[in-house]
Symmetry: D2
Subunit: 331 residues, 4 copies
């Protein structure tokens, strides 16, 4: 249940409800709203009801993620980016951090295309244990250096709760990978930090699953969350690696206040499909995108087929910003 209280008495009523129900249930407040899990409207004192503009009883489990409790957009500010606001946020970089020089060069390209965030994996969740698993902490150092040299924020994946503290020393944004979207121990661990988290949708995660996973982070006190649509697993997987579910963008924007970012690279898995899907993602109103770039995709240590070469990336990025500019003229 969420109660929308009259502004004037909201604080007092919230305090009363916390005093009365706080011991028996989770309570969340936001401005003049208050959410009480597992309390029935008929348990509410009469004066609370009198002080309420509206009582909403059909409330999702992921209540902190819901616009019913938190109607306005969450805007996340990092040193070089504002995520969830009016600007389109570009995040680009190689799939894996391969060397200090390489990631430095790719960060420069990313910046040139208008990116404010550089991506790169130092810990790689690979399907096979015998595939390249990433450079580890050294990779984080290389990526941090590349970000700093180019005036960019850094985003990188953290794969388990034991690494959270170490990765936190370097990154501006944690990425939680699709395979770990319901690794609840990891979600709880990043929820204890104050570093923004980019949560990738799991391969077969429903919209509600995504929001509940985000709620694990929020429950720890970290509300700087962005959601990444990166394609879902369907029967249709011969020509694209996944099915890019762009309908999830406006659906999530209706349900939650967290920014929604699209990842066309993983969604399709083929570089020559990335540009049209990136454009589609912007047109679907995403707050930003994250794309993979590589100057020599055939020799990339991971995911080469989906990486854009610098020239293609620069053209795509230019078009994306033009498209976003046009959309700003639509009320």
């Amino acid at each position: 249940m969420i109660i929308i209280l009259k502004e004037t008495t909201a604080s007092a009523m919230q305090a009363r409800l916390v005093a009365q129900f706080g011991a028996k249930t989770e309570i969340f407040t936001h401005d003049n709203r208050i959410a009480l899990q597992g309390v029935n409207p008929d348990e509410l004192p009469a004066d609370v009801l009198a002080a309420a503009d509206e009582v909403i009883t059909d409330v999702p489990a992921a209540v902190q993620s819901s616009r019913l409790l938190h109607p306005e957009d969450t805007i996340i500010k990092t040193p070089h980016s504002v995520i969830g606001g009016a600007d389109l946020v570009m995040m680009a970089g190689p799939c894996s951090v391969e060397s200090a020089e390489h990631v430095m060069a790719m960060a420069k390209v990313a910046k040139q295309g208008g990116a404010t965030v550089v991506r790169g994996g130092a810990f790689k969740p690979r399907t096979s244990p015998y595939s390249f698993q990433g450079l580890g902490e050294t990779g984080l150092q290389y990526l941090r250096a590349a970000a700093d040299a180019n005036g960019l924020d850094m985003i990188t994946e953290v794969m388990d709760d034991e690494h959270v503290e170490m990765v936190a020393k370097y990154t501006d944004i944690f990425q939680i990978g699709a395979r770990n979207m319901q690794n609840f121990s990891l979600l709880k661990a990043v929820g204890q930090t104050n570093i923004p988290v980019a949560l990738k949708r799991g391969m077969s995660a429903t919209i509600d699953d995504v929001l509940n996973a985000a709620e694990y982070i929020a429950a720890g006190g970290n509300h700087q969350i962005m959601l990444l649509e990166r394609g879902i697993r369907t029967f249709d997987n011969k020509y694209t690696r996944n099915t890019f579910d762009l309908g999830a963008v406006p659906v999530l924007q209706q349900l939650t206040h967290y920014p929604v970012i699209v990842d066309p690279s993983h969604a399709v898995g083929e570089w020559d499909l990335v540009t049209p899907m990136a454009m589609a993602g912007v047109a679907a109103s995403a707050s930003g995108m994250i794309v993979e770039i590589h100057d020599d995709p055939t020799h990339a240590l991971s995911d080469g087929p989906q990486a854009l070469k610098p020239k293609t990336y620069l053209k795509m990025a230019k078009q994306a910003f033009q498209l976003h500019d046009l959309m700003q003229t639509w009320d």
Copy 2:
């Protein structure tokens, strides 16, 4: 196998191959190309090989649909539209033809938004036998009148082979519904006509299934085919009726020469998601879109929840054309 012949001797070689293999296999020619199903390269005469620029052995079953045989775009011309060319084609109208007056009014709105084709169902494939099944031939007459009065082409669904002749008397474009995508008798029947066919992708049809279904139409001699992406069935169906598979747009455009149209209305099934998905479809490079409009969605005889009201449609259409104009400035 497809053989790309040198231009100068292409006709002669094609004639030779038809003479030699025509009795035992299907042969298709297009300009200086020739496709022979079930013939091995080592069965080819030496002079044919000498006259070939290239022999392609990895050829899909749906060979007439393939760009390997027919590299250039198919462009379909109807009285009021050019489909598959530089222009964005807008098709709009009510889900069902409900009355002469209603469809006339909706056609006027469609036209106002820049549509050149009006849609409306007279034969409705409804999940339940007890739901409204359409007005039948009377509905076709109403839709024809509405199209003519507004200078529009007409598109309408034909549900079985027995109706093809009758529907052909009225319509400019046949629509084959998703549930009938593999109704091969129906595909063969429309393949015998010279009326353009809009083939909707089945709910669980792979890309290859779509192309093979199109091939049934082409095998009958009708090559005026357009393909409609309308969402696929996946696990993700709480907030959207289907999953709009926009990756299919560039994938199909790479594989086939037929125009690709998007149907955001059926893809998501909720009117307030239609505009972002329509924009995404245009940004993904579709040749056009088909959308449902209704001035009183709550009383629509079918699919009301996904219909755009006239005002919303007009705004969406304006944005779509602006977006398409911007895209024309990109290389």
Copy 3:
């Protein structure tokens, strides 16, 4: 709404309700039950309510298929089989009718394994127009002869409404293929006959879709319907052609009174997986199975990889009947 009436006054009350509501809605009666679509309980006369044991308001659209209206099992009797009763019904035969001799030989094998129905396709719904499309009416004649010579019933697919009359001259059971499960014109056509219909579940048909498709047949007056689970399309399609959804067997048995048959051959598409899946189907309580057999699978005109050789079939069938016998000892 379904009303369960007291036995003594059921007929009189049913007559009253038909008189009162028959002009405005569909009404179905079964024993002392009556279903009225689109009527609210508060529209009912007081004496009807007084004569009711129960009023069920949450009723599916496919009301004739529902156990709420028709609680007892439908049992279908053909010359040589009782489908939906205590016996396990075995249906076997080649995918396609290939020749008079071949189908005769296969029918003999089918019979030897305990089958009472021989299958074989004369009209084949093939993905590609260039694949073998079946022998047509000649194939029906061959199959009929093979059935008669071995004292078997015949089941064969009918692909479009124009063929219903012709196929009806030969077959004991119509099969509606998965691709045609929502070919409503075809469903209506077989609904006009009095020949039993085996309705295959579509590749992405939900349970409710299957029941609504069956309702199209029932709405025409033909209630001799059996439902075939033959695998659904999912992301998991590398090692099996489809995903055999055996959970659908008990789910359908709870919801509907029609017999449920399993088709392990199409479900998995690989002969060496057919036996364990056939056993699983029997153990899941299916009323019967339909399997493909061929003495020379590598040269079969269609679907060779999934056909059981006679020896394998005979062993499988023997095990299936043993398993079914064991299950009869479980109350």
Copy 4:
């Protein structure tokens, strides 16, 4: 590449190959077989080729899991169970450990039905952070006591790598949950132990994904792995929670030597569907099953709807063993 060496010289040749290629690639040996990743047959010395009965070049990434390297079944022996042998292994217990008394009572019921393993969750991966998360280490102690008192093995889920050491102090078998199937840090951690691992298939994991996940465990040196089919996520989720993919049982048994166990409870999520699906799982040749039982499902702390009451469980288990006995008489 896998080389099958002649028995007499196998050891010598394996030693040679390790000496030659060990520094540059992963090498695995099993009896007279040796697998070398990333080595081409033409790099092999002539005498190795001469000593080979067969060189298999099409080898999956998950090579240790493959029957190509390890043809015979893996049989796992725990104090009270032999998993993967001729016997059907029954594992039963409550979803969550709720109290010392409750799990003790449920273990007694499990034993009565023929179970040799008792299950129960102490760390629960719940979709929502506000749901019951399990009793933690206390729950492990209760479950251990219940197992010991009834002469049963214990299986329980471990959710993150930090808990592996602690859970290892209590359990006989680790369970890795579906949501963690690709939590590679966790897989590596249990791979370092010598405790058997039951790996649940992820909701959208392909067969190859499952085998690669198992390979992460094997790569750490732990080869006591069993695989659990527990239903996959598909479009068909109204009447069953997941789609029970029983085709995966024989497919996995062909590809890998690890035992395959079925979990009908999670697969369907409704208690009244569990028995037919359990029978189907046995008939599909699974080595065992794991089922949830509860004496008061409506008050269960998790997953009550899918739990069998004791009486239903006992009947189901009796049938399962009868069915398995019958199957032992087949070839």
